[in-house]
Symmetry: C2
Subunit: 291 residues, 2 copies
């Protein structure tokens, strides 16, 4: 149980919360209310130099430009080709406006595709793309301590959901084999689909708003009918989700040797953690193994 966690205050806080949740007393949480939600990028796997889904998307767009060079003058292709620093920074920090613009372009690029077609593209990317610094496929960069936390929560009657600003359908491709949770437990930014003749096909519009900031508890309520009692995140866009939960867990990226050390786009969440008593996990000091 939590074998990749050092015997630290963070580990103990988690165990104390779960024990209280399942024991008679003030901290008891009825089984139906045991909803745990986790951000993905930077919380469950590496998000540097960019959240991995962007590597998938940018690869797809590069192929589109190769097939149709006239696209190179249009956004977001242009910013990408020119490596526009403001654009790259906006992506890296999950700036909501940048992410929204990207997701609209993303929706346009995949409009008309079926789930099977999209799944095949994501699987091809998963098996070939590698994280540039660590040199291995992104899917091997899932944090083992977090998977152990999923197991602890599930063993205690919690239903575990992932709730990310990234694409719902992108994550659902690998959720079951990687996280051990069903596709229906994956919440994310999503396109609308249209049903016709026995199949669904992706449309251009988003369904609901971007799953960032206040969009996170909104999407969680829409999907589950509840707000979470346990939430894990790592960035400012997770503040509302963490604030909505009884127990907040904030992953602090402070391990330059084994992963990355940065606080960009997490400053406000670290301040909130101190203010609201969230449990901050030091990747360097609290985890014996990362991957």
């Amino acid at each position: 149980m939590l074998g990749s966690w050092k015997d630290s205050a963070a580990r103990q806080a988690i165990i104390d919360f779960v024990t209280a949740s399942t024991s008679e007393g003030d901290g008891f949480i009825p089984v139906p209310d045991r909803i745990a939600t986790f951000d993905n990028d930077g919380t469950l796997w590496v998000e540097q130099p960019l959240p991995p889904q962007f590597d998938f998307v940018f690869g797809h767009w590069a192929a589109e430009v190769k097939a149709d060079p006239s696209l190179a003058g249009q956004q977001p292709y242009k910013a990408l080709i020119e490596r526009d620093p403001a654009f790259i920074q906006g992506v890296a920090t999950q700036d909501p406006a940048t992410v929204a613009a990207l997701l609209r372009a993303f929706a346009r690029s995949w409009a008309g595709t079926t789930p099977a077609e999209f799944d095949a593209q994501v699987r091809a990317w998963l098996s070939t793309a590698k994280q540039p610094k660590l040199g291995v496929p992104y899917i091997e960069l899932v944090y083992r301590p977090m998977l152990e936390l999923f197991d602890l929560l599930k063993d205690n009657g919690f239903r575990v959901f992932v709730c990310s600003g990234g694409g719902r359908d992108f994550m659902r491709v690998f959720a079951e084999e990687t996280w051990g949770i069903y596709k229906e437990n994956v919440i994310g930014t999503a396109a609308e689909y249209t049903y016709s003749d026995g199949a669904v096909v992706r449309g251009e519009q988003l369904l609901g708003r971007l799953d960032l900031g206040p969009g996170k508890p909104e999407h969680i309520f829409a999907q589950t009918g509840r707000l979470p009692v346990f939430a894990g995140g790592n960035a400012d866009v997770d503040i509302e989700m963490l604030s909505a939960a009884k127990f907040g867990l904030l992953i602090n990226h402070d391990d330059a040797d084994r992963e990355f050390a940065y606080t960009a786009s997490a400053e406000a969440s670290l301040a909130k953690a101190a203010q609201l008593g969230w449990t901050v996990v030091s990747m360097k000091d609290d985890w014996t193994t990362i991957f």
Copy 2:
């Protein structure tokens, strides 16, 4: 197992499908794909003289008119007060345009309320309102054979979802105690919610489209990432959901003595059942007990 079902061809078809789904061979269905979805009104409980949620809504609107008589000249209050036959017929048959107009009015009436406020209103209605012909609360008019079918499916690794044109949040109030499924397994027409200061509040807009006809498989895909393998319905607005599944079950209301006998708004689904080989359940001949 299916103790309220007669030893009929319909019961045998269900058992054969479930047995094949869980046995080696052509009919095997991998566990992650075992999604079963059911319409609510007329499939899981009595929908005559109107789907029960309308009784809840109309009671609320009557109280609004009492508090503000000027509303009586506006729609849908006017049609309701005048018992406009076209309007009542549109509600009774779940005519999509009528239902859409009602749900918009419904959204307006409840905009600004919290889930806790809405839950309390629904619970008050559940404990007081009675079905006019049968004289008991609506919640006692859930079909026992269908709850037994839920158990059979769950015992065989299926995840059971309810998917109704009616309100997602309305159904979620009683889903857990009545159907034995979590709120997150309830799909329906839904309002958008806005998160602020630790709570979500209902807005006026619908999230996605009406959960009727093609909207059913669209909502199911959005919620679960899959289309169902088993689906149950009773009306023309269920055709697309039933068509999307490997096994379709259509409830035929042919028992005037114990429930109601009608085929209005189900004619096309009955024709489709014959054409596509769905299993048609005769409430009169296939069920020993209804409630």
